[in-house]
């Protein structure tokens, strides 16, 4: 007996093997009942809780095979875009409200009015209207928000405040400069703010600029407005605080992003820091640091060309349904599940206290009132969202925010004056916007 094989046998066997190998894959795409979900960003507690509630969803919906993945929030655009291009986008995307216009522009997500009309009334009943509206774009609902973050806020070390002889946090920009200077001591600057190009750091600055009547883009005219006095003067505040000697070295501000700034504050390495509404709640502080969070001090006189806002807000865990969802019915079920009080309650106190809840019922939670009494009081008075505007959201927002980020760093580092840096950024961003908008 020989082990020889003829050429014809070889070719035949190889072809048959290849066919047999490929056959099972052709049937694998025909499955039904699968639901893929991508979630981007979130505090450590939230990430844990979200996964735990997913188990409840699976128990309630045994016919739906939930395939849930979590990713870092900073890479969401890249991941989602790559998924869209390769036709591997998840059925449900949980991303930021700021993303909606661009995702709609790409036809990545679909209006919920078309696929969940019978559920929307229930959602409206359970969600705070202002928060629910943050899922709207061009008159259509594209996302179900679970909470919002607001900008900008100030974390204050109470011991440092008292040591410097103050009995209340600063309320105006000039007071902020005075307080920051007085609270500075060797090895502990009075105030820190993040000035990297991370989107959250830019959002923090935008909160200050919008409160001063600034805007980064005028949708009516299609013009970039980074050189508006409201934005320029807000950046001048950053520069003045550095010039006062009240902050860490400028070079350190440009390498320390929001989370690291929060941790330095939590370790008592700065007396105040400027952040989003959650401030230090996701990470906590050292036991010997007594602190409180207050709204960012207001400009003494708003100098911008637009109406000053009290805050800007964005739903940073908003559920959207992909335009290529293979199982839209299951996707809507998933959204409806997350619109229920049991799920929205996650942000109503324990276990998560870092966010501004979307669920009406969550505001009745005693723990929330204990941790954030001012929020609850303002909500009950109906003034929490008064004067608040959405965070910048339009097609091309990332191009403008990127130019703004560079301008902030140039001014902070003293390479250019705020006006020079923002004028240059306006020009660069306008070129991008014109390109994008044709």
């Amino acid at each position: 007996m020989t082990n020889s094989i003829s050429r014809r046998q070889f070719l035949g066997t190889t072809a048959a093997t290849a066919l047999a190998t490929a056959t099972p894959f052709s049937g694998a795409f025909a499955g039904t009942g699968d639901l893929s979900v991508w979630k981007f960003g979130g505090t450590p507690t939230e990430v844990e809780q979200w996964a735990a509630r997913n188990e409840a969803f699976t128990a309630d919906n045994p016919d739906i095979n939930l395939n849930y993945s979590y990713f870092n929030g900073q890479i969401r655009r890249q991941k989602i875009l790559a998924g869209f291009q390769t036709r591997r986008l998840a059925d449900v995307i949980i991303a930021f409200g700021q993303d909606i216009p661009e995702f709609v522009g790409f036809d990545m997500v679909q209006p919920l009015d078309d696929i969940a009309a019978d559920k929307i009334d229930g959602w409206k009943d359970r969600l705070v209207p202002e928060v629910m509206n943050s899922g709207m774009h061009d008159g259509k609902l594209y996302g179900l928000p679970t909470y919002v973050d607001m900008a900008s806020f100030l974390a204050v070390n109470l011991d440092a405040l008292e040591e410097a002889g103050f009995d209340r946090p600063p309320a105006t920009w000039s007071e902020l400069r005075e307080y920051a200077k007085a609270m500075t001591k060797p090895g502990r600057p009075g105030l820190a703010f993040p000035a990297t190009t991370a989107p959250v750091d830019i959002n923090i600055f935008e909160g200050i600029a919008y409160a001063n009547g600034g805007r980064i883009f005028d949708e009516e005219s299609g013009k970039v407005t980074l050189d508006d006095p409201g934005v320029v003067d807000a950046l001048q505040l950053y520069v003045d605080l550095i010039a006062d000697g009240s902050t860490p070295a400028a070079t350190s501000l440009t390498e320390t992003f929001f989370r690291d700034t929060a941790q330095l504050f939590g370790q008592g390495r700065s007396a105040m820091w400027i952040g989003l509404s959650w401030l230090n709640t996701p990470w906590g502080v050292s036991e010997d640091v007594r602190w409180t969070g207050v709204p960012m001090p207001r400009p003494d006189t708003a100098s911008g060309s637009f109406a000053p806002v009290n805050a800007i807000m964005d739903p940073t865990a908003i559920l959207m349904v992909s335009s290529r969802a293979k199982n839209p019915e299951a996707a809507v079920e998933y959204l409806d599940f997350w619109s229920q009080n049991e799920q929205l309650e996650i942000w109503g106190g324990q276990p998560e206290v870092a966010r501004i809840p979307a669920g009406k019922a969550a505001w009745d939670n005693e723990e929330l009132a204990e941790v954030w009494p001012n929020w609850v009081e303002a909500y009950n008075e109906g003034s929490l969202f008064e004067g608040a505007a959405p965070m910048p959201r339009f097609i091309g927002v990332s191009a403008i925010e990127s130019a703004l980020g560079t301008a902030i760093q140039q001014a902070v580092l003293g390479q250019k004056t705020p006006l020079e840096a923002l004028t240059e950024a306006t020009k660069a961003a306008q070129t991008q916007i014109d390109l994008i908008r044709g």
């Binding site: 050429r7 655009r77 890249q78 860490p248 070079t251 440009t254 390498e255 140039q410 580092l413």
Partner: protein, 293 residues
């Protein structure tokens, strides 16, 4: 005979398909995109050089070119020079060098992300151990923000890059140096050649093939390196460390300007191919003679 040839073609077919699908295909696609005005996934005309003209009008692009030159040329030159020095040291037989030959690979085996995060913290202006050590030993008056200072950031990245890439270069060159015939070195010594002269006129010509290969490979590695600069600085501060790889990524995935990103990729490819071709041309004699052995 004819059938044998057909079988041979059939056998290499999978590799040909793979190369077409994963190398030629994407390269062609990038070339096509670079000549297409495409924004936010919408095509607005093919057969235009508008992406290239837009790049020349972008002030950041010229800064990116300068930074990329520091990154690729500075990185490659220092990586090979340091690698050559370390490789020469490791080629000497001793207990110390035997141990070091294994240990030196540690930076190479660490994941990019871990390396980048660890260095980012060590170099941090407020809490970084490097700045604090320099300050406490009196070498600097205050801590230095290596990654936050526009004048330092690019060269700091190059240092980290060398730390990461140099070990393999050193090991390859160490192996090449150890393969230099002893009789040649001994003959040079007997003729009165100094240590430097033996290295310059005996060792270097003998390892020219490896040196050329390792230089070209390092250049390609460094050009393709993305994670390290992106995680450590994100191109900042104020674009001071923005290089081709990071700017292409930013244009593609943050601004969705695929046409411009593709144009930059084409420029990157042409630049790299030109530098490699020039380098191979300059070293053609040693390359050819060693390669034919």
């Amino acid at each position: 005979m004819q059938n044998d040839r057909l079988l041979a073609y059939f056998m290499i077919l999978p590799v040909v398909i793979a190369v077409l699908a994963f190398v030629i295909g994407p390269t062609y696609n990038v070339g096509t995109l670079s000549l297409t005005k495409i924004v936010m996934g919408q095509e607005r005309g093919f057969g235009t050089f508008s992406n290239f003209t837009a790049l020349t009008a972008d002030p950041v692009f010229w800064l990116v070119l300068k930074n990329t030159a520091i990154w690729i040329l500075g990185g490659t030159l220092l990586c090979v020079l340091v690698g050559l020095g370390v490789g020469a040291f490791l080629s000497v037989d001793s207990r110390l060098t035997t141990g070091l030959r294994a240990l030196i690979l540690l930076p190479w085996v660490l994941p990019d992300v871990v390396t980048a995060m660890a260095w980012k913290w060590m170099l941090h202006g407020q809490v970084g151990i490097i700045g604090q050590t320099l300050e406490t030993t009196g070498l600097t008056e205050e801590t230095i923000s290596f990654l936050g200072d526009p004048n330092l950031v690019m060269w700091t990245l190059v240092v980290v890059l060398i730390w990461r890439k140099m070990p393999l270069v050193a090991l390859i060159l160490c192996a090449a140096i150890r393969s230099v015939p002893d009789d040649q070195i001994e003959a040079a010594r007997m003729d009165g050649a100094t240590a430097f002269e033996r290295f310059r006129f005996v060792v270097i010509p003998n390892i020219a093939f490896s040196l050329t290969a390792v230089t070209v490979i390092s250049m390609i590695w460094i050009t393709a390196e993305f994670a390290l600069p992106w995680i450590m600085t994100g191109g900042g501060p104020a674009n001071s460390s923005q290089i081709m790889a990071t700017y292409i990524y930013q244009q593609s995935f943050e601004f969705f300007n695929w046409g411009i990103a593709s144009a930059m990729s084409v420029i990157n490819l042409v630049m790299l191919a030109s530098i490699v071709a020039l380098y191979l041309y300059i070293n053609r004699r040693s390359w050819a003679s060693e390669g034919s052995k």
